[in-house]
Symmetry: C2
Subunit: 347 residues, 2 copies
């Protein structure tokens, strides 16, 4: 089976009518439609997507921009996979496919994005890991390409995003630790240029000040969100003159490195030092001692993200009437042993 032309000839019908029949358009007799559908099924005809895209000006493909370096992938852990899975769940309903767009490490992400958009290979984009000032957001907004982002940004005013409730996490973590008597609380975070890095630390600072605890910049450890980063964070904490009695981790994978370094130093987690983590993966539960952790469903986050995107695309808006924008995704605390102790009040 080559194309719609052969199908039309086989049926002795014009190709226009065949197209209308297949696409459920009006102006086709019901009997004709049945014949066409039956013949298409029998001959295994499926419309060529390139021809269709060319004519309609839309590709039915959503692009997902990702960092492609080996390091980035290994650290991303299952985050992408989880979110992607949720995205696909939403997209499948509309016969949309998901195209992974890995920006080469040696190319400017913005240029790469511009090229992909100009190629018209995608109808819309998903971006993640937004910077505090993110040129990609500007670009997509100006080019009027529908998009949604994982993570807020200051760029381009109002745009569709889904983000994790970092404020809530920082706040509740501080609250929980303060309630147990802690006064010196460390925190790890990525660079403040990454929006997450900024927001997380700001919320932590506000929460501290709300409890009358002064903010001490030396307790903010900027390291990579990886096992190695955790090791280094522990290392830096140990250097401090006035060590904290608790530490908040932005990513639970860091706990592996952090635990190791602290154990080397003879510090007992859950007795000498409290630890609270974030973004539970199965491994978090299996640390010794088990890690208190704020967790969520990546799959559900992906679904929300997909719906947010589609709600901002004219062709799909109707399916998601209340699929607004700007979702702040809540997290749930799963208590563990790593912070299950109280500290005596200090001077």
């Amino acid at each position: 089976m080559k194309g719609i032309r052969q199908l039309a000839e086989h049926l002795d019908i014009s190709i226009g009518t065949v197209s209308r029949a297949l696409n459920g358009k009006p102006d086709v007799k019901e009997e004709t439609r049945r014949r066409v559908l039956a013949a298409a099924e029998e001959l295994g005809y499926v419309a060529n997507q390139s021809g269709r895209s060319l004519r309609q000006g839309e590709t039915k493909v959503i692009g997902l921009m990702i960092e492609s370096s080996q390091e980035a992938v290994e650290n991303a852990d299952n985050f992408f996979l989880g979110v992607t899975s949720g995205l696909q769940h939403v997209f499948a309903r509309h016969q949309l496919d998901l195209l992974m767009l890995p920006c080469p490490a040696d190319e400017d992400p913005c240029e790469y994005l511009k090229r992909m958009v100009a190629r018209r290979v995608v109808d819309a984009m998903i971006i993640s890991n937004t910077q505090r000032v993110d040129r990609r957001v500007d670009l997509l907004s100006r080019a009027k390409i529908p998009f949604a982002a994982v993570g807020r940004s200051l760029s381009a005013g109002n745009f569709p995003w889904v983000d994790l409730d970092f404020e809530g996490v920082a706040e509740r973590a501080v609250e929980r630790l303060v309630a147990r008597g802690h006064r010196r609380i460390g925190i790890t975070a990525p660079s403040s240029e990454v929006n997450l890095g900024y927001v997380f630390v700001e919320s932590y600072r506000r929460a501290l000040e709300r409890h009358g605890i002064p903010f001490d910049p030396s307790l903010v450890i900027r390291v990579k969100s990886s096992e190695q980063g955790g090791y280094q964070a522990a290392h830096e904490l140990l250097q401090l003159e006035d060590r904290p009695t608790a530490v908040i981790l932005i990513y639970e994978l860091m706990a592996i490195g952090l635990y190791r370094r602290l154990m080397e130093a003879g510090i007992r987690i859950g007795r000498d030092l409290a630890v609270i983590g974030f973004r539970d993966a199965p491994r978090a539960r299996f640390l010794q001692p088990s890690l208190s952790c704020f967790r969520m469903s990546l799959y559900d986050l992906g679904i929300a993200l997909g719906q947010t995107l589609l709600a901002n695309m004219p062709a799909y808006r109707a399916f998601y009437p209340d699929g607004g924008r700007n979702i702040v995704w809540p997290l749930e605390l799963v208590p563990g042993e790593s912070d299950a102790f109280e500290v005596e009040a200090q001077a």
Copy 2:
């Protein structure tokens, strides 16, 4: 910038010449080519992919078929992400994009695949999790669609695949355990319809028999390769009259559940029971006691997979002259504490 037509008008040149200039074809004066390239750069022209695909009959997109159920994704862990990353590294060199094709849980994978191929939305396919008899392999072979698989299969005789060295793992695991005095060795595996499940157990059986140990089917535990599967596996092992002194896990994530159940039963891993795992993720090292594990680089596996595919596509074959097929990927043993003991000889 709309299309090549506008670019041609702007240059006062025919569109045919513009196209040839941009694509590096001959029959273009060098000065003209420079002018065209400069104008394209200045006006930000990039060829529309739909038009190009339609004309050329190829899309520059490689499809990656995946199972999309939430459960499948959660258990797949970072396998896909790691392999995907390697794939993209290879594809990026040829400006190929990777399209994720999640087969809906309620659709026959073969039908889904057939539709995607008929739509001509991809030039080639990657499939994984091959069955021992896999209709997808038949389909793709017959349709002459270039493809590569993760995992062997009996279907369709000779086709391009990359697989892990399960034989080697089973063999070396048995060897290692026998050398430590074990005679009753259990093993976990997926259903024998999945090629992995068959090959793994067969290799284990042969390795046993080579050491004069009779094969006992009751020691083969068929469970899901997940944390829950590990828990269940431990449960079944405990039911056995004549319990094994060692067990080989097909996936290290299972260790989490297995450890838990065995600890509940008061069995000391690394003393009463030896455990060896497979496919190291960071968490494997952090079990207590640490898990002996056969590991590999998913990224490198992805690269090999991508090269195997391209070596089987006429348009790219020249780039991978020795990029043969049928790679059996080796694994490396990282010793841990979970099997670090010897067992006294039994009657």
